[in-house]
């Protein structure tokens, strides 16, 4: 038990520190790297809660896709981040005050939270005992909710078609790789054997 508590405080402390560094770091690329660190620690917290599926999804989707996408955006767009930061100290007191008020309000709300003791029994699909929660999600996702799962897939297909329809332009004068032409080349076309006499060159 003490190990779990230690792990919790470790993950939580690193996650909070990394979160602070995301907004504190001078270099935006470092910010994204701190964001990835925060995601990893949040995933660790989910593992401690026994939600290993969400933990893995967090790593795969947020670290693998979203954060890398951020990294691309930060590196490819030429944004002057130093300009954004101007006046940071000037606005710090007001911003800090608003943040503090929000924090206090959140704490008050969460402290006053009263959970129904038999809340878990009301779940639409209670987690069966003895199997991992990835297994349990799979059991309902691909049976009861297969229709919704497939329809969501169709929505993603439409989004992909839409992105291509609205942005893809066939440009002329582009040199493209033609694998067939490359493979059809024979040795005779590509290589020439010359006899080179000494001290004369070709």
């Amino acid at each position: 038990m003490i190990l779990a508590a230690l792990a919790f405080y470790l993950f939580a402390a690193i996650a909070v520190a990394a979160g602070a560094m995301v907004i504190g770091a001078r270099n935006p690329v470092h910010s994204v790297l701190y964001l990835i660190l925060a995601f990893f620690n949040a995933a660790g917290l989910f593992v401690l809660l026994g939600a290993e599926f969400i933990a893995m999804i967090l790593v795969i989707v947020y670290v693998g896709a979203v954060a890398v996408l951020f990294l691309f955006v930060v590196m490819m767009l030429d944004i002057n981040f130093a300009e954004f930061r101007q006046g940071f100290h000037q606005y710090l007191p007001v911003g800090g005050l608003i943040g503090l008020i929000l924090l206090v309000e959140l704490l008050l709300v969460v402290a006053g939270w009263n959970l129904d003791p038999d809340m878990l029994s009301l779940a639409a699909a209670p987690t069966p005992a003895e199997i991992t929660n990835t297994h349990a999600i799979g059991q309902v996702l691909y049976t009861r909710y297969i229709y919704l799962f497939q329809a969501a897939g169709l929505i993603l297909l439409v989004a992909m078609i839409g992105a291509i329809v609205l942005t893809l332009r066939a440009r002329t004068g582009v040199r493209r790789q033609s694998i067939a032409a490359q493979l059809a080349r024979t040795r005779a076309e590509a290589v020439e054997l010359r006899k080179v006499a000494p001290r004369q060159g070709i």
Binding site: Y145, I155, I161, V165, L166
Partner: protein, 482 residues
């Protein structure tokens, strides 16, 4: 239950989705311009789907644990939607080629939007409602911006997307409140919970109001109509036609099922909301259209008004009212298809024109087209003996029989005001000096749609029985609560 029988109710949707994907692959791999062929094949796929939908006759079947339901109502509405989608592809072909926007994704996106609409019509759960709605909307956002080199079209797509996302947010907020206060997302269990509760939970009432706001956005009822005129004006004309007569039917069908199944027993709670939506839509549709010079914008306000009239029937909430809405939607589809066919034929010197004064004196240059458009406009205004009159007649009768006298009287008054702007175009065509003639001949398919639609509208009174019987069966299916 074997897996084949579990999937049988969704066979039409599976077929249509698979056909859309097959056409997508065909379009990508075909060397020469695939647009014409893909369009034809897409219409064929819709025809097969129509046979699959209408050919089955096995009463009410629920699939996937009640997420999806097929009944007479679903069959009727899906039939209308499939006809509407096929017409949108047929009408678009020539126009898109002339505007050099003939990319094969247009028919594919229309097919995928149709899958979404069919999912909406059969939705029997808040989650399947949302998923169907998003599938349809996502395809429509892209279609609105389809002419990506035209600023107007891009603007229309972006506006529609941003406001549509807002509406989805409201709808989801309402759905989450309903789930929280009834403990279920299924329509039938929700109806049972609301029936058992001796007093309607306040949270469920607020959730229902948000849900109605989201749905009202999708059918463009006032005060959630702001996007309609801009999107209709900016989108390419065939897409505007599609928006006007197909997604609206699907959204209205979804609205009807959502009001009748989970909230069937708490009618008075939502009736007052719908009365306001309906009166505001009829009023705005009638007054705001008067000042319009762009015919697509005019049709946008006209469609807002027509949604108001259809909502009159839903507000009544009786079998008669629902039958009225079903008839109204069918006639609305027929009238708008013809009107938009003629609008699509308005071209001069290789340019599409959309200002109303361009129609001046059409009766001198093209008496037949002018007569067809006049019939359609009289019908849209609700002048007997055109079909549009019967549509209005059935919903107003239902409202009177349900005791909603004020609503019925205001509706009749609004339709009198609305008649002005339809008749203004008729006056322009018949009594003003002729403008330069349009490019002729009209493309064969477009002319045929216009002629068929005008004939249907003109001769509907002679043989209304099949449509009325179909609508009656649909309304009864929706009323029979399990």
């Amino acid at each position: 239950m074997s897996w084949t029988s579990a999937f049988a109710p969704v066979l039409p949707e599976i077929w249509l989705a698979a056909a859309a994907m097959a056409l997508l692959l065909l379009g990508v791999f075909q060397k020469e311009d695939p647009f014409a062929r893909i369009s034809r094949l897409a219409v064929g796929a819709l025809a097969v789907t129509f046979v699959l939908v209408v050919g089955r006759d096995d009463g009410r079947v629920a699939a996937f644990d009640g997420l999806f339901v097929v009944d007479e109502f679903a069959r009727f509405m899906k039939g209308l939607v499939l006809i509407g989608s096929a017409l949108a592809i047929v009408l678009a072909e020539d126009w898109l080629v002339k505007e050099r926007a003939q990319r094969f994704e247009y028919p594919v996106l229309v097919l995928l939007a149709t899958v979404g609409m069919m999912a909406m019509i059969s939705a029997n759960d808040l989650v399947s409602l949302y998923v169907g709605l998003e599938l349809q909307s996502m395809a429509l956002y892209v279609l609105a911006a389809f002419q990506r080199d035209a600023v107007r079209s891009t603007e229309a797509g972006l506006k529609y997307f941003v406001l549509g996302a807002l509406a989805s947010g409201m709808l989801l907020y309402g759905a989450s409140l309903l789930y929280g206060f009834t403990g279920t997302t299924g329509f039938e269990p929700m109806a049972a919970r609301l029936r058992e509760a001796n007093q309607l939970p306040l949270g469920a009432l607020i959730g229902m109001a948000f849900l109605i706001a989201g749905l009202a956005f999708k059918v463009s009822a006032v005060p959630f109509h702001m996007w309609t005129p801009d999107v209709y004006e900016g989108a390419p004309t065939p897409v505007t036609a599609f928006f006007a007569f197909t997604p609206k039917i699907a959204a209205m069908a979804l609205f009807m099922r959502t009001m009748m199944t989970p909230f069937g027993d708490i009618g008075p709670a939502w009736q007052q909301i719908l009365v306001v939506l309906s009166i505001a839509s009829m009023g705005l549709g009638a007054y705001a259209a008067i000042g319009q010079d762009n015919i697509k914008r005019l049709m946008a306000y006209s469609s807002i008004g027509h949604v108001g009239y259809a909502l009159v029937g839903l507000t009544a909430g009786t079998g008669e009212g629902l039958r009225g809405v079903a008839i109204y939607l069918a006639i609305y589809l027929a009238m708008n298809a013809g009107a938009f066919a003629i609008i699509l034929g308005m071209r001069r010197r290789g340019q599409a024109v959309e200002e109303i004064p361009e129609l001046a004196g059409l009766a001198k240059t093209e008496p037949l087209t002018a007569a067809g458009l006049a019939v359609l406009l009289f019908s849209l205004a609700g002048v007997p003996p055109m079909a549009g009159f019967f549509g209005k007649f059935y919903v107003f009768m239902a409202a009177v029989n349900a005791g909603l006298f004020v609503l019925a009287v205001l509706g009749v008054l609004a339709s009198v005001v609305g008649a002005f702007y339809y008749l203004r175009i008729v006056k322009l065509m018949y009594f003003d000096p002729p403008a330069e003639p349009f490019e002729r001949p009209m493309p064969g398919a477009v002319g045929a749609v216009a002629a068929a639609s005008a004939l249907f509208t003109l001769l509907f009174f002679a043989w209304p029985a099949p449509l009325v019987a179909g609508a009656e069966a649909a309304a009864q299916a929706l009323l029979r609560l399990p």
